[in-house]
């Protein structure tokens, strides 16, 4: 395809051509950034979490008398074990993603400082099995450690702790964490095991540094444990959760009993992210549609204006295919100019957002990605008007308009 005649004709229609380029550039810039935001949010919805998310249900009891906890909790656990389908039960102080952060800084020397706040979990006997934690190194807590560890000032009175793999790598890089001493607020514990990464209680609040920073302590039955964690097969979890709420409601009169499947907890935590993703997708689709309409409108106008010229070209031997590819090439040239400007603009917007909002650098492949999307959109939009142009009969050339 000869490009020079196209360029010559575009030079004559400088203003509509500039408008198309401008529209494509703006659409490309907005699209790049919107898709990048969508990508980041979708990635956060899929953060991995090394517990048995599909099989766990959590029932929270609040307002029970803490003085009776030592006898209430074992009784409640025994009753919950009686529910059909339950494979493990334990009491705990909190769960990942429960949006109720209990954070402490952990360091490897008594007087060191850190900016990372780790989520603290106290689990009762059998907690590792009920949650479905995955042990990578070392061992679980033994029965003596569960029975001999208390809760004081939001820290453990015991001597042992489990850490996540991320924390083990962060605190003791290139060393085994097993047997090392973990300090927080001048108290200390020995690391007996390393578990696969478990999410924080509120990872969005903890930020990238604290997202997978979690410490587990054993705890004897204590009034601070409000969560009962039940594990079952995934297909049983709704029934198990319902029955557990009934059982605990009867046993703990006067307390507030609320149940949730862990899958429900997770989707609750990410609900606003999900809605934001849909909003962004909607805006992108509508914006692309508007851009396409603009291209259709302008190209149709050109086709109508040039009916006579098209007729002449057909009369002197151009095929329909020639006319079709003329308009498509023209659109391709305009789109190219548009996406080049658009990519520069997108990069600039990303820099601006990085400066003023919590935004990271956009990976380079978003730029050509959006460029290709807009090229395709342009070709799609121009197809209708170009077909109409190709349908102009040669005889038009002989008529005066």
């Amino acid at each position: 395809m000869e490009i020079r005649p196209i360029l010559a004709s575009l030079r004559k229609h400088r203003i509509p051509a500039t408008l198309i380029v401008l529209e494509i550039a703006l659409a490309c810039a907005v699209l790049c950034n919107a898709v990048f935001m969508i990508g980041q949010r979708v990635a956060s919805i899929h953060w991995s979490n090394a517990i048995d998310e599909q099989g766990i249900s959590v029932v929270t009891v609040n307002g029970a008398d803490p003085k009776l906890a030592a006898s209430d909790i074992p009784r409640n656990l025994a009753a919950l074990r009686g529910i059909a389908g339950v494979t493990a039960v334990a009491a705990a102080t909190s769960m990942p993603l429960d949006q109720n952060p209990a954070l402490s800084p952990f360091v490897t020397k008594p007087d060191a400082n850190t900016t990372v706040n780790s989520s603290v979990y106290f689990i009762g006997s059998d907690g590792e099995r009920a949650m479905g934690l995955r042990l990578l190194q070392g061992r679980w807590f033994n029965a003596d450690e569960y029975a001999g560890s208390g809760f004081k000032n939001f820290a453990s009175t015991g001597h042992v702790a489990l850490v996540t793999q991320s924390d083990a790598n962060r605190l003791w890089p290139r060393q085994s964490a097993l047997g090392k001493t973990l300090y927080s607020n001048s108290a200390s514990w020995t690391v007996v095991g390393v578990v696969a990464d478990v999410l924080a209680q509120d990872p969005k609040f903890s930020g990238p540094g604290g997202m997978y920073s979690s410490v587990f302590y054993p705890l004897q039955p204590d009034g601070v444990m409000g969560d009962y964690v039940l594990r079952s097969a995934p297909q049983d979890r709704e029934r198990v959760e319902r029955e557990a709420v009934q059982v605990l409601g009867k046993l703990q009169q006067g307390a507030v009993v609320e149940g949730k499947t862990y899958a429900g907890m997770r989707s609750d935590y990410f609900a606003d992210t999900t809605s934001m993703v849909w909003m962004l997708v909607l805006v992108c689709v509508v914006m692309l549609a508007v851009t396409a309409f603009g291209i259709v409108g302008l190209t149709s106008f050109w086709v109508q204006q040039r009916r006579r010229q098209i007729g002449i070209r057909r009369a002197v031997g151009a095929t329909r295919g020639h006319i079709l590819s003329y308009f498509r090439t023209e659109n391709f040239l305009l789109s190219t100019a548009g996406v080049l400007a658009g990519m520069a603009l997108a990069f600039g917007i990303n820099l601006y957002l990085m400066e003023h909002y919590e935004m990271s650098r956009m990976p380079w492949y978003y730029l050509p990605g959006s460029a290709i999307a807009l090229w395709l959109l342009g070709q799609l939009a121009v197809f209708g008007p170009a077909l109409r142009a190709a349908a102009v009969p040669p005889v038009v050339a002989t008529r005066s308009v």
Binding site: E23, L26, M37, S186, V256, M276, S300, F301
Partner: protein, 435 residues
């Protein structure tokens, strides 16, 4: 003349319905999306107490020890019990209030239904008068009730309706956990947006259902909620011994009516910090702040970044729609070169052609504005059904409604300027010759 332009415009718009619809749709979508987001932003940055906000202030002091001390850092944004009480009893402002959030277990009378949680606010007595809380029945408590640790409570209209029927609530017994309180007031619907007096609960938290005297609630060990920051080596405190802990967990507000009072209060805060340092309680040099209400909201970034990003995105989207409108209007006007040429030849001036084309654009603008308004209503309806804490407040008020129409009209007329200018430069002789 305007009537004639209007007639011409309507004829022209009817001639090409598809193009007209496309333009109205493009403007409508752009306006709809951006007005939805701007309305959300407008609601979220609203002044919760327009009559009083300039006189309400939130002080900050720096009670921490020297560990991790960096000069110039912002002080903590809450108060320990001791400092809050010292400031409260100093009575340096016209009113002052120390307050903290809590959660109580409500046990309905006669075991009507299961116990449930309610959000509570533990506060000193000035809260109600200082924040202009409207009472449906009864009233708040007095400073004397505070000191005596009186077992009285003020509840919301919603909770009163649920428990007793709002008309009979005053004088009833309210069981919270193991303790019994006497209801002395019912608060009418009161939902300041943002939840300015305690931002640690979430900036758009709903107003609490139960209000208890601060001293009473803490003495009885009713559960507190919200942020707590501790320092030193004590770790977190025992919930039963919060009064002496090296932790900040309370909010403090003061009403200062004149600039002189404000200046005096600033000096008082510095003086207080120095005095506490002499006593050995504080270690750092005085580091104090005094924000007014709107300044405090700003300092705490109450508008989430994601909402600002959405608003930016919507504006970008509107820009795309506007460029699109410019393009479509250009097409529309240039197509009519011959018609405009005839009008010019018959004696119409450039100005009158320009005015005629702008009239046409205004019609499109108004139609687009109405379409945008409908879309914004739809958009806000969607926002209200999203699981975000500001969702209930996403409503279009009269001001925003007017702003939507004006914005649509202005944007379209602005977009039409260039195409109209181009179209009225048509040379009549040339156009007629081609014909």
């Amino acid at each position: 003349m305007f009537g004639y332009y209007l007639d011409l415009a309507l004829r022209s718009l009817k001639r090409n319905k598809v193009l007209t619809a496309l333009m109205v749709l493009a403007i409508g979508l752009g306006i709809g999306a951006s007005m939805t987001m701007i309305t959300v932003l407008h609601v979220m940055t609203a002044d919760p107490l327009p009559d009083k906000s300039v006189r309400l202030f939130y002080p900050q002091i720096d009670p921490q020890d020297m560990e991790g001390y960096t000069p110039g850092r912002e002080p903590m944004d809450q108060f320990s019990w001791i400092d809050a009480m010292n400031l409260l009893h100093a009575r340096k402002g016209s009113h002052q209030v120390a307050t903290t959030g809590g959660r109580v277990t409500v046990r309905p009378p006669q075991g009507k239904s299961r116990a449930f949680f309610a959000d509570a606010r533990y506060t000193s007595s000035d809260f109600f008068s200082m924040f202009d809380v409207p009472f449906l029945y009864g009233s708040g408590w007095t400073a004397d009730d505070d000191d005596r640790q009186a077992r009285v409570a003020v509840i919301s209209r919603t909770l009163a309706d649920k428990l007793y029927g709002a008309d009979h609530a005053v004088g009833q017994a309210l069981r919270l956990g193991k303790d019994v309180f006497r209801v002395i007031g019912v608060v009418d619907h009161w939902d300041p947006v943002p939840h300015f007096y305690d931002l640690t609960q979430g900036s758009y938290h709903k107003t609490e259902d139960v209000f208890l005297p601060l001293e009473t609630a803490i003495a009885l060990g009713q559960g507190t909620s919200g942020n707590m920051n501790c320092w030193g080596h004590g770790g977190f405190p025992d919930p039963r011994n919060m009064k002496n802990a090296n932790c900040v967990w309370m909010q403090f507000w003061v009403q200062l009516d004149t600039p002189t009072q404000v200046q005096a209060y600033r000096e008082f805060l510095v003086h207080y910090s120095e005095q506490q340092k002499t006593l050995g309680r504080f270690q750092r040099p005085p580091n104090t702040r005094l924000h007014d209400l709107m300044g405090w909201l700003d300092y705490n970034h109450v508008v989430p970044g994601s909402v600002q990003l959405q608003a930016l995105l919507a504006l970008g989207f509107m820009l795309v729609c506007l460029v699109n409108t410019v393009a479509l209007l250009l097409v529309k006007f240039l197509r009519r070169s011959s018609e405009l040429g005839v009008r010019r030849a018959m004696g119409a001036s450039k100005q009158s052609i320009f005015a005629q084309l702008l009239t046409e654009a205004s019609l499109i603008g108004i139609a687009g504005g109405i379409a945008g308004l409908l879309l914004a209503f739809g958009g806000l309806w969607i926002v209200r059904h999203q699981p975000v804490e500001y969702a209930p407040y996403a409503h279009l008020d009269m001001a925003m409604l007017g702003a939507t129409l004006v914005l649509a009209l202005c944007a379209t007329v602005l977009a039409a300027m260039f195409p109209a200018w181009r179209a009225c430069r048509v040379q009549p002789a040339r156009v007629l010759k081609i014909q």
